[in-house]
């Protein structure tokens, strides 16, 4: 069901993806078969909104674990997609719905509401959101910018937390 689709992926494409995301050849092949089995309509994209395989891989690349040999390697080139900063950026973008590079109180409230049960009233949730912003906010704009977000999570082992060990 899944493995027969690997022939549709050309070698040049695999090389490109490998360079961009850092996955190995076999990982890319396997993720491709996963992609095609998710893609029931078989039109090369997930849902009608044109997320192709490249986009899929790019997003998953954020979750690749950081290996030791990568840390010292490439200081001059572009930062790999799975660096700590990029991982945090990914999470930040999930909060930041209106793309203004700030997590406002409303955006935070929305995420909180999704994570918490129905027993919490809006006022309570509001005070939790206020507290969160207050703890993080350093420049006094009542919103969390990316640098403030990074600072909040500095004690957390994000590299380990936001990583999936894709099998080779």
């Amino acid at each position: 069901m899944g493995s027969r689709a690997s022939t549709l992926l050309r070698d040049e494409e695999i090389e490109e993806i490998k360079k961009e995301t850092g996955f190995s050849h076999s990982q890319i092949t396997r993720l491709y078969s996963r992609f095609t089995s998710l893609d029931k309509g078989e039109n090369g994209t997930l849902r009608e909104d044109q997320v192709n395989f490249r986009g899929f891989m790019r997003t998953l690349a954020h979750f690749r674990p950081i290996e030791d040999n990568e840390k010292s390697k490439d200081q001059n080139g572009p930062e790999p997609l799975n660096s700590r900063s990029n991982k945090l950026h990914f999470a930040f973008r999930l909060y930041d719905l209106d793309k203004d590079d700030k997590i406002s109180r409303d955006e935070l409230l929305q995420v909180l509401r999704m994570m918490v049960g129905v027993n919490i009233s809006d006022e309570q949730l509001g005070s939790i959101a206020d507290r969160t912003i207050q703890e993080a906010d350093q420049d006094g704009d009542s919103a969390i910018s990316f640098t403030e977000f990074v600072k909040v999570l500095e004690k957390v082992d994000v590299e380990q937390k936001m990583s999936i060990r894709f099998l080779h």
Binding site: L60, G117, V118
Partner: protein, 734 residues
């Protein structure tokens, strides 16, 4: 009013206590009559004398007797029932005092009761109380527990971790057996301990029966300490599967004991035997499972006896495996896991409930009886004491288990995807409890001079592990947890973000395919849908009508959910009202947060944040699935999602154009919906009917992506029918 209620509560408890004491007396009386568990031949001559006395009395009186006592007639069932009654009443008594089960695990309390009983019987009878017969244990008491464990085993975590589990079960047990055997032999060589007559083979034999971790003991202790799902399944799975290894080794060494010379051929035969036992057990189990599923295909007109088939076939698989000297435990687990999916699709809802309840009941009774008998059998003249041997046995058991876990985890972490943390390793090593299986095996040993020493050592190890390790494991778990938390002292923001990341990760893991084991699962699902389901499921050959049935079922469920949603929202809990009142007042008064409010917030968060799938154990020993808080959580999330779905469907058109611009952001959302959409019922496509059944049977595996991924899914637009299918899959899982 309160005082009256408390007083009546107290009165009820006193009454129960007195009943229990009276009941304690009853088995004592029975024991005085004659040991229950000895073969019935012994009571034969007694019977005869009793009867002759009666006839003698009758002849002398020559009146019709209104009231007579004929105890011998009902002795055996009467005593069995009394023992079971004692066990169950003891259980009620423990749970009346809420604090007690949290401090002392139930198994300890039960052994304690057994010890008291044994002591009473010994004191009154002045000879050993009835010893638990190995046959009774292996044939009657053990199968219900293992069946219950196998039937309710959460198959997804089990198969995800199967490599690790097998490694621990097989290699770990062999490591333990040889380690303990050889080190005890080394101890025996020391002249001052007077143990030199125990040969290496005897030591290895002893090692093989003492090294195996016992599922009964592990289950009863672990279900109270609520470790995360992965850890639970590791210890639990290991304790179930190591039966194959320990049975083989035990029988192997026992046959070696009886053979005069041992050739290398025999050793290799032993290794080969292990594979035969394990794989043979699995095959026997699967065979009976398939037959059971096939049988239930035809039970439409006699719904009443459907539950019986489940139990009969599982028991048959156990007995058949034991008959061929294969591993009965592995067989019964394979049978239960194999037939579960098909049987549940075929039988009626009521039969399903019956099966669940009966299984829980039987396994609970068996469990209690085993521990009580363990306590009773401890008292008596069966023991020979040797300080050195026994102490060293305990020490070596602990050391070798710890070493084994460390070494194996090292390999596991290098090869495997899921890492086992050091805290988990400690729990695994410390949670290696021995229990009744060792006890029964030691009684099955052939008679040789040191047998009583072995019995004593086994008893001490079991008591030690159950009491000491069982009681201290919970505080240790808490201690390890607490230490970690205190180091970081998370802020509210950290907590929220960490939880957010957990949800995110769980969703991404699901998208990327369950850590690569998707391939095999996929293959199995394909095989399943193509061949097995046609054969084993009843309604497969009428696709059209089943769509209609399913759609109606969904509509009904949808209506029920909406009504319940209404109920949920109109009933805010009192505490949250009070809290919100207080906290808002405080916030308005001052700019900075008081420590009160902060504590409030922390409490609210810890209580109310949805637990992600990975940390919630899906399987709980004493509750049926669907009755714990996680089901409520799932329902709530679903209802929330429904509400915002409607909101979003109205807003979606305007947002659609804006969302299309975002590449990575929306991409992320898009394919989080995809797993659900693909697997859900698409009612409009009749040709996707095979998927229909797939979705139902995949419900165990694919409904869970719905749960944590839902936080992101809320932002997506969906059609009504897909969400209905979701409900179906949800409730199917629960």
């Amino acid at each position: 009013m309160e005082r009256k209620r408390l007083a009546s509560e107290a009165a009820a408890r006193w009454m129960l206590g007195t009943c229990l004491c009276l009941l304690l007396g009853a088995p004592v009386v029975c024991a005085l009559q004659g040991p229950l568990l000895l073969p019935p031949d012994d009571t034969g001559p007694e019977n005869a004398s009793w009867e002759s006395q009666e006839t003698h009395n009758n002849e002398s009186s020559e009146h019709t007797v209104f009231f007579s006592l004929d105890y011998q007639h009902v002795q055996v069932p009467f005593e069995i029932t009394l023992w079971i009654m004692l066990a169950s009443l003891a259980k009620i008594a423990f749970h009346l005092y809420n604090k007690l089960p949290s401090v002392v695990p139930e198994s300890c309390l039960l052994i304690f009761v057994g010890l008291i009983m044994g002591g009473i019987i010994y004191g009154l009878n002045d000879k050993s109380p009835p010893v638990m017969d190995s046959d009774i244990f292996f044939l009657y008491l053990l199968p219900p527990i293992v069946l219950d464990a196998g039937y309710f085993m959460p198959s997804r975590p089990f198969f995800e971790n199967i490599g690790t589990i097998l490694l621990y079960a097989v290699v770990g047990t062999i490591w333990n057996v040889f380690g303990i055997g050889f080190s005890l032999y080394g101890i025996c060589q020391v002249k001052s301990f007077h143990l030199q007559d125990i040969s290496l083979l005897h030591n290895l034999l002893f090692g093989s029966l003492i090294a195996a971790v016992d599922p009964v003991a592990v289950l009863s202790v672990f279900e109270e300490i609520h470790v995360n799902e992965k850890l639970h399944i590791l210890v639990f799975g290991e304790s179930l599967l190591n039966d194959a290894v320990s049975v083989v080794l035990y029988k192997l060494f026992r046959s070696f004991c009886e053979m005069s010379t041992i050739k290398t051929v025999d050793v290799f035969a032993g290794i080969g035997k292990f594979f035969v036992v394990g794989i043979g057990g699995v095959l026997v189990g699967l065979l009976f499972g398939m037959i059971a599923a096939f049988t239930t295909r035809f039970t439409k007109n006699i719904r009443v006896i459907e539950p019986l088939f489940v139990f009969l076939y599982s028991y048959l698989s156990y007995l058949t495996a034991e008959m061929f000297h294969l591993s009965g435990i592995v067989a019964i687990i394979a049978c239960a896991m194999g037939m579960k999916r098909y049987v549940e699709a075929n039988i009626s809802l009521k039969s399903h409930t019956t099966i669940k309840y009966f299984m829980k009941m039987w396994s609970s009774v068996s469990d209690t009886l085993i521990f009580i008998f363990l306590g009773v059998s401890t008292i008596g003249d069966n023991h020979e004491w040797s300080w050195s041997y026994i102490c060293f046995t305990i020490i070596f058991c602990l050391i070798w288990r710890a070493l084994g876990v460390l070494v194996l985890t090292f390999f596991v972490n290098r090869l495997h995807v899921n890492t086992v943390t050091s805290k988990d390793q400690f729990i695994i090593a410390y949670g290696g409890l021995r229990g009744a299986i060792c006890f029964s095996l030691v009684f099955l040993l052939p008679e040789f001079p040191r047998k009583k020493l072995f019995i004593a050592a086994t008893t001490v190890v079991i008591l030690f592990t159950v009491f000491v390790q069982g009681m201290t494991i919970r505080p240790l778990v808490d201690l390890l947890d607490v230490k970690r938390k205190r180091e970081s002292a998370p802020t509210v923001g950290e907590q929220i973000h960490i939880r957010f990341l957990d949800h995110l990760l769980a969703g991404i893991e699901d998208i990327s395919g369950h850590w690569g084991q998707y391939y095999w699962k996929d293959k199995l699902e394909y095989f399943n849908s193509k061949y097995l389901q046609k054969f084993l499921l009843r309604e497969y050959d009428q696709p059209k009508s089943s769509i209609v049935l399913l759609y109606e079922k969904l509509e009904r469920k949808h209506a029920i959910e909406l009504v319940e949603a209404g109920q949920l929202i109109h009933e805010p809990s009192h505490t949250s009202l009070l809290d919100s009142h207080r906290s808002t007042v405080v916030v308005k008064e001052s700019d900075s947060m008081n420590p009160d409010v902060l504590e409030n917030i922390q409490k609210i968060l810890s209580r109310n944040l949805y637990r992600i799938r990975r940390t919630v154990p899906a399987y709980n020993r004493h509750n049926l699935p669907g009755e714990s808080g996680t089901a409520e959580q799932a329902k709530e999330i679903l209802i929330l999602r429904h509400r915002s779905l409607r909101v979003h469907m109205n807003r979606s058109d305007s947002d659609h154009s804006r969302k299309e611009k975002d590449d990575s952001y929306s991409a992320h959302h898009r394919f989080e919906t995809k797993p659900k959409l693909c697997r859900s019922l698409t009612v409009r496509d009749p040709e996707k009917v095979p998927d229909l059944k797939c979705s139902r049977s995949k419900s165990m595996t694919f409904s869970s992506p719905l749960q944590p991924g839902s936080t992101e899914l809320l932002k997506e637009e969906e059609t009504e029918k897909r969400s209905l299918a979701e409900i179906e899959i949800y409730t199917k899982e629960r």
